[in-house]
């Protein structure tokens, strides 16, 4: 009894993301799948869940679930056996409330009212959310949504659960709770595969550990697991040359409160962000880093006071504000305005705040270092995730606003690109005196170029010289 993939190849636009991969996922096991972002984890999981080729990926090879080819099963048959939990918890519910969502899903299996009520109650109890049945999703935190999503697939009766980075928007306590829950479920007989880019908390619970490397799976022997338990080392930053008093202040926080849905994510007394230099902001998953960046970028409401150049952020005229402040969005496609790579580059070269620095020669040099040459008239929306990220960052550094917020600028980049990108960020910052605040979990790479470190725990941030890497 297992899900098996034999010689599985998955491609988008004829570009193989997974190549000739083999995998057996048995019941009563908990498997961790690790790989950097962009390595193809989501692609693999969607294929295993039977969503391709229907939703775009080209699949060859064989996927079987308990000896039945998955391609022959209809969605309502498949759902009883295998289920996928999606990376972004917001996008996976069709209905506004928990109860309606369960009714929708169980009606798909043609269950009658009594069975629906009974399965809903059973599944919610299993994840400890019995009281949540009449809650609407907009009031749930990321962790609660993922628990509901888990309960939903349990109610559907799936034996194999595939979870795609389920903890990306989940705070650390919920992450631990969910990991324990997954372990219990696997012991009860479910076959579970979790993908994650962060191994924290898994190694005492899992039975198998794979790395997704070069389009295929590598099984990591148990003896080597401890090597992967990163973020255990600390690096101490060199104290800034001048004392902080002598530094200019870009932003001043005073009793700043930020809500994310119903949850208070930041409650900050007094804090300043210094002008010029690179500040790294770290904190556990789901703590609210992206919400803070959005607030700084005038895209999220706040209470209390937040000033930029001594003027309240929401009192700035948007056009003036965004003339000085830029945000590198987490999703690259949110940054793009035009269609082709050349159109995008031409646009920023024309509008750059530092046109004297960004000559044609310098641009060409960076394009070639970033391996972005020759993409000229390709649509930016057809680039790979890594190419999109590099282009996005280049565009914003060519614009070179006075202040730049970077939300996970290294996501989806291979090692060689990371080095180039770090060099690009540092070069621009030093040459143009930019103020950069960067959120990233890839601290080991970034620690060499940052000047300061802000640590964000619970609901407040504070400067720290030690960085976990």
């Amino acid at each position: 009894m297992a899900i098996t993939a034999r010689n599985l190849t998955v491609a988008y636009r004829d570009q193989a993301i997974i190549d000739d991969l083999n995998l057996t996922l048995e019941k009563k096991t908990l498997t961790l799948l690790m790989g950097p972002s962009g390595s193809g984890k989501s692609t693999l999981l969607k294929a295993l869940a039977g969503l391709y080729p229907q939703y775009g990926g080209q699949v060859s090879g064989k996927i079987e679930i308990d000896q039945t080819a998955i391609a022959t099963l209809k969605a309502n048959e498949r759902a009883k056996r295998v289920a996928l939990l999606f990376q972004n918890p917001d996008d996976q519910f069709a209905m506004p409330t928990v109860r309606e969502e369960f009714i929708f899903a169980l009606e798909n299996l043609e269950l009658d009212k009594d069975e629906i009520d009974q399965k809903t109650a059973w599944a919610l109890e299993k994840v400890g959310l019995t009281d949540f049945i009449d809650r609407s999703f907009v009031t749930l935190s990321g962790g609660e949504m993922q628990k509901v999503a888990l309960a939903e697939v349990l109610a559907l009766g799936a034996d194999y659960l595939l979870l795609d980075e389920p903890f990306a928007a989940v705070d650390s306590q919920s992450r631990e709770d969910l990991q324990v829950l997954l372990q219990q479920l696997s012991q009860e007989g479910y076959g579970i595969l979790v993908s994650d880019h962060d191994p924290a908390g898994y190694f005492d619970k899992i039975s198998q550990f794979y790395q997704l490397k070069e389009k295929a799976l590598v099984l990591v022997p148990e003896n080597d697991w401890s090597q992967y338990d990163y973020q255990k080392q600390t690096v101490v930053l060199k104290p800034a040359a001048e004392s902080d008093q002598a530094q200019d202040t870009a932003y001043r926080f005073d009793n700043l409160r930020i809500q994310n849905g119903e949850r208070l994510v930041l409650d900050q007394d007094i804090l300043q962000i210094f002008a010029a230099g690179i500040t790294l902001l770290t904190g556990p998953n789901g703590v609210g880093k992206s919400s803070v960046l959005k607030t700084l970028a005038r895209l999220h409401r706040y209470e209390g006071s937040l000033t930029y150049q001594e003027q309240e952020v929401h009192a700035w005229k948007p056009r003036l504000y965004f003339g000085q402040v830029g945000l590198l969005f987490q999703s690259a496609s949110d940054q793009f305005l035009n269609i082709t790579v050349d159109e995008e580059l031409d646009q920023v070269m024309a509008k750059s705040h530092h046109a004297d620095f960004w000559t044609k020669e310098i641009l060409d040099q960076w394009l070639s270092d970033l391996h972005l040459t020759g993409l000229g008239d390709q649509s930016v929306y057809t680039l790979s995730g890594g190419q999109q990220k590099k282009l996005q960052l280049l565009l914003m550094l060519i614009m070179a606003p006075q202040v730049l917020f970077l939300d996970e600028p290294l996501a989806g980049l291979d090692e060689q690109s990371v080095a180039v990108v770090l060099n690009l960020i540092q070069t621009c910052q030093q040459a143009l005196g930019l103020t950069i605040l960067v959120v990233s979990h890839q601290t080991r790479d970034l620690v060499n170029i940052v000047d300061r470190h802000l640590r964000y725990e619970q609901t407040a941030m504070a400067y720290q010289e030690e960085v976990l890497v």
Partner: protein, 185 residues
């Protein structure tokens, strides 16, 4: 062109409806502002004609992007229904207008036998104008207007629909086409 509606097609169609229900709802106060502006110079009979093109964008855009029978009509109805639920200025009247406008736009694509979508788009600006104008003859009492005014109203309405539901829709769809975001479906 696949004729079957997939779940993803329907969700995209409905999202187009949602986008435009918000735009239509925002247009309600814009309409009143334009109207008071034109009233000063005695031309507020033209308010409806000038702005109508915006209110008719959802249908042609949905047809032109999804290339399916009924997309235009349903897209326009969804935009109108959403506007009503948001609390638009015309309550259920919006549903009725959406119904008429949806039929008007859909007709253009139908006349090509759903074969030539580019020609269908231009035809739909014409059929949309004719059908919605015919409706207003009775509903808004245009029938009482003098012929000269009627002709002027018709021309202005056509220009508005031509620009917003024709040219602008075409430009939007062209961007989408060049982006290749939908090319592999």
């Amino acid at each position: 062109m696949k004729q079957k509606w997939t779940l993803q097609n329907v969700i995209l169609l409905a999202l187009i409806g949602v986008i435009f229900s918000v735009i239509y709802w925002i247009m309600d106060p814009v309409y009143q502002i334009v109207n008071s502006g034109l009233a000063v110079i005695g031309l507020q009979a033209f308010t409806n004609e000038i702005t109508l093109g915006v209110w008719m964008m959802a249908g042609p855009l949905a047809s032109y992007i999804l290339k399916k029978i009924g997309a235009g009509f349903i897209g326009e109805m969804l935009g109108a229904a959403g506007e009503m639920f948001l609390g638009g200025s015309y309550g259920v009247g919006t549903l009725l207008s959406g119904f008429i406008q949806g039929i008007g736009s859909e007709l253009g694509f139908a006349l090509t036998g759903y074969k030539n979508w580019f020609a269908g788009l231009w035809l739909s600006t014409l059929t949309g104008t004719v059908v919605s104008f015919g409706w207003d003859l009775f509903k808004s009492g245009y029938i009482h207007y003098k012929l000269g005014l009627l002709v002027a109203l018709f021309i202005v309405r056509y220009l508005s629909i031509f620009f917003f539901s024709g040219v602008l829709v075409h430009l939007i769809a062209k961007l989408l086409d060049r982006s290749k975001l939908l090319s592999h479906e």
